[in-house]
């Protein structure tokens, strides 16, 4: 396995020259030197992809921990650790993106002490800080296990429900608040996307996305790392994704209908095409397929449909931040090639971190869980064995 990965690692090692140059330009000559951002389009690809989509893509962490630790759906236990790891790395990449994106990153800590409880972004900032901390705490048992620190494992076993309840509550706030961010620009967002219910839509879609990401992750990492999961897991995740997606899409359709904007979805203009791509092609279609038990029996097909759901919800975040904002304000923005480069580099950095973590920490299999105390779990096993 190691030999096959070497070229991949070499490419990773050669990449730092480009980000070094971009970062130099960014921090010496300002955002204008490496981005196509303007006063008309103050938020671009980094906010759209790395922050808004990045936070959504990290939602596997809270959905799966909620399912296993809070709802005791034991069948999903094998994917808890990869889901928590993905979320933790995801949030670190979000923070990294913010350091590059905001104009004065040395002030990023200030929301902790300079409160503005009228600002959604203040609340979002606190959610990022606190939830990243919680994810770090949820991730630590992997380190304890690696180090053989039994006291840590046992202590964390008791604390995990507390961490998970805090994490799910923070995620609920954070995911929905990213939708609230856009509530204050009613005149600037195309009506196919602006809605007072944006926070609800962002939360519902983040749940679907969390399930879909975890399902894809389980399928593809089982191939990449030679670990296999029960097909039952992706089968159940597929059904859950389909149900949440259909609730989400029904809520959006209902909202458009109630506010008299449904006709705008079928005008075959730029807005409606982006809307249909996001909701029908990359939303309703895979969700409908996932409803059929026969379709869900093939893990490859389930993974394909789930990947489509992932693309659809990422497109939703990009549509709100980029498409709908441009259509609503008349601004024009095409990301600078350096913006695209930084977005991809951060994505690669996250993937590399995930790879390293899987290689060196008991992410798959091995340990019991991040959650249940080994003391409580061990006797059961004995009983089952006899």
């Amino acid at each position: 396995m190691a030999r096959g990965r070497k070229p991949f690692l070499l490419v990773l090692a050669a990449i730092p020259a480009l980000p070094a140059y971009i970062l130099f330009m960014r921090f010496v000559h300002g955002l204008g030197a490496v981005t196509n951002l303007t006063d008309d389009m103050p938020w671009g690809l980094w906010k759209a992809f790395n922050v808004f989509s990045g936070v959504a893509l990290a939602s596997g962490g809270f959905t799966i921990t909620a399912a296993v630790v809070i709802f005791h759906l034991e069948k999903f236990r094998p994917v808890v650790r990869p889901a928590v790891l993905t979320a933790f790395i995801g949030y670190m990449m979000v923070i990294l993106s913010l350091v590059v994106d905001v104009g004065r990153p040395w002030n990023l800590w200030r929301p902790l002490f300079y409160w503005n409880e009228r600002s959604v972004l203040w609340e979002v900032g606190l959610c990022v800080i606190f939830y990243t901390t919680v994810l770090f705490l949820e991730f630590l048992p992997l380190v304890w296990e690696k180090l053989g620190f039994r006291g840590g494992i046992r202590f964390w076993g008791w604390l995990t429900p507390v961490f998970v309840i805090a994490g799910v509550t923070l995620s609920f706030l954070h995911q929905s608040s990213l939708g609230s961010v856009y509530l204050i620009v009613p005149g600037k967002l195309h009506p196919l996307w602006y809605s007072p219910a944006l926070p609800l839509f962002f939360f519902l879609s983040s749940v679907a996305l969390g399930l879909a990401v975890t399902s894809c992750g389980a399928h593809y990492s089982s191939r990449a790392f030679g670990k296999s999961f029960e097909p039952l897991i992706t089968e159940s995740l597929g059904r859950a994704t389909a149900v949440v997606m259909i609730i989400y899409l029904a809520a959006r359709t209902l909202d458009l209908g109630m506010r008299g904007n449904l006709d705008k979805a079928f005008r075959m203009d730029t807005a409606s095409l982006f809307f249909q791509a996001e909701t029908a092609l990359l939303g309703l279609l895979p969700a409908a397929l996932l409803l059929f038990p026969a379709f869900r029996r093939d893990p490859g097909r389930v993974a394909g449909a789930q990947a489509t759901v992932v693309l659809g919800i990422v497109l939703n975040r990009m549509n709100v931040t980029l498409t709908a904002f441009q259509l609503g304000t008349g601004a024009r923005y095409i990301p600078h090639v350096f913006e695209v480069a930084v977005s991809l580099i951060i994505l690669c950095a996250g993937s590399a971190l995930f790879y390293l973590a899987v290689k060196h920490l008991p992410v798959f299999g091995a340990g019991e869980s991040i959650s249940s105390p080994p003391a409580h779990k061990a006797p059961e096993k004995v009983r089952m064995g006899t």
Partner: protein
């Protein structure tokens, strides 16, 4: 809502001389230039409107400013005089203010390593806080821009419209826009657009997000307790199921 002082701009009196632009640039230490649009070095500009009038553009200084409400660290705030002012030293550079402003006023220093949000501050530091009028109002040769109490300015504006209804559009721009602004404008009747942003909500914008934010102190304990409830409920259910299983197996 804080709205003590304000400016009244009367389009029909503006000569387009640009004295306000130069006075503004001098007051803020910017290189003197003929401004062609609002940008990081031009907090105001005067542009010709088809039909013979001139229109001045500057921050409207909302009574309940969206920019100040969205700022995660309160780097933007409204003073008791009604000026919306900015403190770069605590600003993160998130640019949510630029996003949120319904009048598209705040501009960003895109090419600086220490970027600031730039916009008219109603000369708060140097003048208004000391009881003086802003630089632009002090130099206007024809009284097109005047400084005063907002209520008084609104009365003057309505008086002018009432006296010469054939000359003025029957609306004070800024009386209701975005919930009411400290800077107000009255416009001459012309077929051409003034270049002022149309369709601005006639209500204050911060309540749009405030409604959601107010729910959070309630949502956090409710969600937390619900999750804890589900935790114990499903745990108990699992335990019972396990016990039954054991009994069955003897």
């Amino acid at each position: 809502m804080t709205m003590g002082c304000g400016l009244l701009f009367d389009q029909t009196l503006c000569l387009g001389c640009g004295a306000c632009e130069l006075a503004c640039q001098k007051e803020h230490g910017q290189p003197p230039h003929k401004a062609v649009k609002l940008d990081a070095d031009s907090f105001t500009f005067v542009g010709r409107v088809e039909g013979g009038y001139f229109q001045r553009h500057l921050c409207m200084h909302c009574g309940d400013p969206a920019c100040a409400s969205v700022c995660p660290v309160s780097a933007l705030r409204i003073t008791k005089e009604g000026a919306v002012v900015y403190d770069a030293s605590i600003c993160l550079g998130c640019r949510y203010c630029v996003m949120a402003c319904p009048f598209l006023i705040p501009k960003y220093e895109w090419n600086s390593p220490f970027p600031r949000v730039r916009k008219c501050d109603l000369c708060y530091e140097g003048r208004v806080s000391k009881g003086e009028e802003p630089a632009c109002a002090s130099v206007c040769p024809n009284g097109a821009t005047v400084f005063g109490e907002r209520a008084e300015l609104l009365r003057i504006a309505k008086g002018r419209i009432q006296r010469e209804p054939e000359k003025y559009i029957d609306e004070v721009y800024g009386e209701y826009q975005a919930g009411g602004t400290s800077v107000m404008m009255i416009l001459g009747k012309t077929t051409a657009a003034s270049g002022l942003r149309e369709g601005v909500l006639l209500d204050a914008l911060p309540p749009l997000t405030g409604r959601m934010l107010r729910k959070i102190p309630v949502a956090v304990p409710v969600v937390g307790l619900m999750l804890a409830g589900f935790y114990f409920l499903t745990k108990r259910k699992n335990d019972i199921a396990k016990e039954e299983e054991e009994e069955k197996n003897g």
